[in-house]
């Protein structure tokens, strides 16, 4: 890739400015409002793909096994993420279960699968079909993935329950603890602009 000077507009304050591309620093900020203009790493696509695959494996584990089990005077109860959502669906607050399913299951799951699909094809030097729609979907869904808040919710519940019952952490809880930094690193390492530039080369 040759060095060019490009004109960009800040998405937060509309300030026009010239930047070097590829940028000299990892993160380029707006000169007026300090918003992030570019997050650049030459190997970002590879790195994001690796983190996405690792996250997907942990995400499957986090959903397949119980999060916590409680022992209430001999009655042992365990629940998984799906079980909790299903239980909520059966009560009279069903709309909440849709929101919980969306933020902890659907959005993170779709994000991981979409990124793996797009980045795998890009690494193979092919232009992924439907890329524009998928990237738009990712952009739209980004604020709605809330796995880290969910983990905090589990921890609060565990502390609340410890007064009444003995609480046994499940496999899924450990998977979540590992998954959160991985997903944060994955979302932090990628700037969509890089995907578009790579796609232009694949044509």
């Amino acid at each position: 890739m040759t060095d060019t000077i490009e004109l960009v507009a800040c998405h937060e304050c509309d300030q026009l400015q010239r930047i070097h591309y590829p940028p000299k620093n990892r993160v380029v900020r707006c000169c007026r409002c300090n918003a992030e203009l570019y997050r650049y790493h030459p190997d970002a696509i590879n790195r994001t793909l690796a983190l996405a695959v690792a996250s997907l494996l942990l995400f499957i584990v986090a959903n397949a096994f119980p999060i916590v089990a409680i022992d209430m005077q001999g009655n042992v109860l365990a629940t998984s993420m799906l079980g909790a959502i299903e239980h909520l669906w059966q009560t009279h607050v069903a709309p909440v279960s849709i929101l919980v399913a969306l933020t902890t299951l659907i959005v993170p799951g779709v994000t991981l699968l979409t990124l793996i699909y797009l980045l795998t094809l890009l690494q193979l030097g092919r232009r992924p079909p439907g890329a524009a729609q998928l990237l738009r979907l990712l952009n739209l869904s980004r604020p709605w993935g809330m796995i880290e808040v969910y983990l905090l919710g589990i921890l609060v519940s565990v502390v609340k329950l410890m007064a009444y019952a003995s609480v046994v952490p499940g496999v899924s809880l450990w998977a979540l603890v590992l998954l959160i930094p991985l997903m944060a690193a994955m979302l932090g390492s990628l700037h969509f602009d890089l995907i578009w530039r790579r796609m232009a080369q694949c044509r």
């Binding site: 304050c13 929101l99 919710g153 969509f192």
Partner: protein, 214 residues
Amino acid sequence: MSTARQYRLASCHDCGLLSKLPSGHGHCPRCGAALHFRKPNSMAKTWAYLIAAIILYIPANVLPMMITGSIVGVQSDTILSGVVYLWVSGEWPLAALVFFASIMVPMLKMIAILLLLITCGRRSNWQPQQRTKLYRLVEFVGRWSMLDIYVVTILAALVQVQSLASIAAGPAAVAFAAVVVLTMLSAMSFDPRLIWDPLDKEQEASGETHDAKH
């Protein structure tokens, strides 16, 4: 100081590409997304979501969030009484966490959006840098108010030993979930560039006369 709109340039919301937009609307040549200089009807949408959120914040705090049934009887807890319960039972870090996430964050968020809407509506050029920071904070912190919803979900699923105890989510859960969604939508429909627009007054004026021709 020159802005993209002054040069009839628009950056794509989805892929970031800067392209010429002489007529004021069109599609991004790279990704096909709709292009515009500012998010359409940004202020009106933000107001609408915010007002809905403020209204629903009342039932969210007044109605019970969690209904606990045990051999001793049935007990309903609102968000605040849940916090008080945690506080008196000695779990004060947890009480502070839940209080912050479910009472302070949504309230401060609504006040912050209100402040942004009023200052932008008056085309104020007061502290744009600080107001942009406030907008970023609102966007970043919003998701954390889902905390109590998750706590209720997990507790309700775990504690269902019929004879001993059971926990169910109360009607406030629906209202509170709606508040979270509405404040997030409100923050997402706000266009932070409106904070900076009044700073480029003469450019604004020329931009508007240009708009009027189309």
